[in-house]
């Protein structure tokens, strides 16, 4: 409380004149502990994913058959799976799949969805009508169902999982940016650009998309967690990453077969997923609250994935 009062009592101490340390302290005070914690956790996950091949204590596919199903030890800090592979090394390699898939799917589907939605919102008419009817049909398949069906017919592997998740992922971004574009196109700067003879493509790329990026960014941050869970769920069903490659979902799948004799095999991959998703959700919520304090329900991005 003392900070703001002092600041308003002495207006001459402008922020620029303030020492950098004091400004940093103020910023840190404002950020909640949870947000800092989740940001730190995310940095750790990202580091682990990038450095996985160098920091993994063993090769992820190397088999130490005598040690199979043994618990955490000095040699194998998180235990050994049913084929004698070191679980920590596989978890680190799995982080690459989880984070890579999460970022890749979100970036591609946000790019496609935003472009399509902004175009339809600007042009209206048949473009808009066609897009909305397509979306109506796609959202008639709840949650992961369409992705499951697509991977089932295309054949289970990493590439098809990626395509299937993008196929259901772009819809949310298209709806969001269409709605934004509908209100933006009535604004004066869009009218001015059109009056100057800018082509619709140019209006979308230069005027609409830069102005609707804020909400898209919030939805994308919340969406990464959803994609991580979706990929893990597909792999858990045997539809995602195929053995022997490591994915948290497929590790959890084989770990669940050994709940009696080696419960740590199901414990750690699940902890990794939950910790990553929790950090992403915390950060997404915080970001949403900052960019748009009036938003009624911060977890809308999750709503479409819940039940998974």
């Amino acid at each position: 409380m003392a900070g703001p009062i002092r600041a308003s009592a002495s207006p001459e101490s402008a922020p620029a004149a303030r020492p950098a340390g004091a400004r940093l302290r103020r910023a840190l005070r404002r950020a909640a502990l949870c947000e800092l914690g989740s940001a730190a956790a995310l940095c750790l996950f990202a580091l682990a994913a990038v450095l996985a091949p160098w920091i993994a204590p063993h090769a992820p596919q190397a088999q130490d058959l005598p040690a199979r199903l043994s618990g955490p030890s000095a040699v194998h800090p998180l235990g050994v799976d049913e084929l004698g592979r070191d679980q920590l090394s596989r978890l680190l390699m799995g982080a690459r799949v989880a984070i890579g898939m999460g970022l890749g799917v979100v970036i591609l589907s946000a790019a496609i969805g935003t472009a399509v939605g902004a175009w339809a919102g600007l042009r209206g008419g048949w473009w808009d009508e066609g897009l909305m009817r397509c979306i109506d049909v796609l959202v008639a398949f709840p949650g992961l169902l369409l992705a499951i069906a697509l991977v089932a017919v295309l054949g289970p592997d990493l590439r098809n999982t990626f395509l299937a998740l993008c196929a259901i992922g772009w819809v949310g971004y298209a709806r969001l940016s269409r709605a934004q574009a509908l209100s933006l196109r009535e604004r004066e700067f869009v009218g001015a650009a059109r009056a100057c003879g800018a082509s619709p493509l140019r209006v979308v790329a230069r005027h609409l998309i830069p102005n609707l990026l804020g909400p898209v960014l919030v939805q994308a941050t919340l969406g990464v967690g959803g994609v991580v869970v979706a990929e893990a769920s597909l792999s858990f069903l045997g539809l995602g990453v195929q053995p022997p490659a490591a994915s948290w979902g497929s590790m959890l799948r084989s770990g669940s077969q050994h709940l009696l004799d080696a419960p740590w095999l199901a414990l750690f991959p699940g902890l990794a997923i939950a910790a990553l998703v929790l950090s992403l959700n915390f950060l997404g919520d915080a970001l949403g609250a900052r960019l748009d304090p009036g938003r009624p329900n911060a977890s809308r991005g999750l709503a479409s994935w819940s039940g998974i």
């Binding site: 009817r133 397509c134 109506d136 049909v137 008639a140 398949f141 709840p142 949650g143 992961l144 169902l145 369409l146 499951i148 069906a149 697509l150 089932a152 017919v153 295309l154 054949g155 967690g225 869970v229 893990a232 769920s233 858990f236 069903l237 045997g238 539809l239 979902g249 959890l252 799948r253 770990g255 669940s256 709940l259 009696l260 419960p263 199901a266 414990l267 991959p269 699940g270 902890l271 997923i273 939950a274 998703v277 929790l278 959700n281 915390f282 919520d285 009624p296 329900n297 911060a298 977890s299 999750l302 709503a303 479409s304 994935w305 819940s306 039940g307 998974i308």
Partner: protein, 306 residues
């Protein structure tokens, strides 16, 4: 109300047609020859030709499409390749188990979420609020593929409180319902808290307080009643996601429902059965969404006329 009903019901026809078309095209998305894929690489050309004949794959595409549409309208979804039984019969057999699971998960989610939301809203900014909000975020974030095995480990293996799998006793429903419902419960608790905080500032609540109503009566009898309408709507709209979530939960708990049938059909490349399961889940989802919308319109007349 009647015209609203008709208008809403009429709007889902093109959606259902789109869903049918998409499900029909699934089998044609299979790379290569679907019959060959279903039978495996080592199948003899005679067997493959026979299966193509049985699936009607050598007919013109338009004829296949027309037969698929007219069959679906008569609830004839073809024959399962593996079970050699009508797909519709197989699905009808499994549907009750999935409905039981989804309804139990939904009931559990509401039973956990409403008190939590109420406590959080009444204690706004306090320790209970923080605790409930953290619990809700954790509930949304913990994936069911982990929650399920952990519940089995802690409550069915370490403690012999619930059976590991099967669905003979009512107790067997508890762990699957918890696995399926916890995420929804987190979401619902957050919505309930937000809705309550919005309602508690309204004039009618102040009026109730001025008349000397007890705090419990103000919160539950006045604010909660009004905050419930949008909450229940969202829960209704999540029913379809529960059906998809059931695919995973049923796999974890060997629950004999539609989701497990779908996963097994995928494993055996029984594509007619895959199509049937996907179509059924989507159709149930669209129908439940329509009913939820109609119920919302009935409960809140402002919706009907907007």
């Amino acid at each position: 109300m009647k015209s609203y009903l008709l208008r809403r019901a009429f709007l889902i026809l093109p959606i259902l047609w789109g869903v049918l078309t998409l499900v029909f095209s699934l089998i044609h998305l299979i790379p290569g020859d679907p019959a060959q894929t279903m039978l495996g690489e080592s199948a003899s050309p005679v067997d493959v030709a026979a299966l193509r004949q049985r699936l009607g794959l050598e007919r013109p595409l338009t004829e296949q499409y027309a037969r698929f549409l007219s069959g679906a309208l008569r609830a004839d979804l073809g024959e399962s390749f593996r079970y050699e039984e009508p797909v519709a019969a197989l699905i009808a057999e499994r549907l009750p188990a999935t409905f039981a699971l989804a309804v139990a998960a939904m009931a559990l989610a509401l039973a956990l979420a409403l008190p939590a939301g109420l406590i959080a809203a009444a204690d706004r900014g306090g320790p209970f609020d923080l605790g409930a909000r953290l619990a809700a975020l954790a509930g949304v974030s913990i994936p069911s593929i982990w929650l399920g095995p952990m519940l089995i480990l802690l409550l069915a293996i370490r403690r012999d409180w619930f059976p590991v799998s099967g669905w003979e006793s009512p107790g067997a429903l508890v762990l699957p319902a918890l696995t399926l419902g916890l995420g929804l419960s987190g979401l619902t608790a957050r919505m309930a808290r937000g809705g309550l905080l919005e309602e508690i500032g309204r004039g009618y609540v102040l009026a109730a307080r001025a008349r000397g109503a007890a705090p419990a009566r103000v919160w539950v009898g006045h604010a909660l009643r009004n905050a419930l309408i949008p909450v229940v709507t969202v829960v209704g709209l999540q029913f379809g996601s529960l059906l998809t979530g059931a695919v995973i939960t049923e796999t974890i708990f060997s629950w004999p429902g539609l989701g497990r049938l779908l996963v097994q059909a995928i494993q055996y490349r029984d594509y007619p059965l895959v199509q049937g399961c996907v179509l059924t889940i989507a159709a149930v989802y669209v129908t439940v969404n329509l009913l939820t919308d109609l119920a919302y319109g009935w409960a809140d007349p402002r919706i009907r006329f907007s």
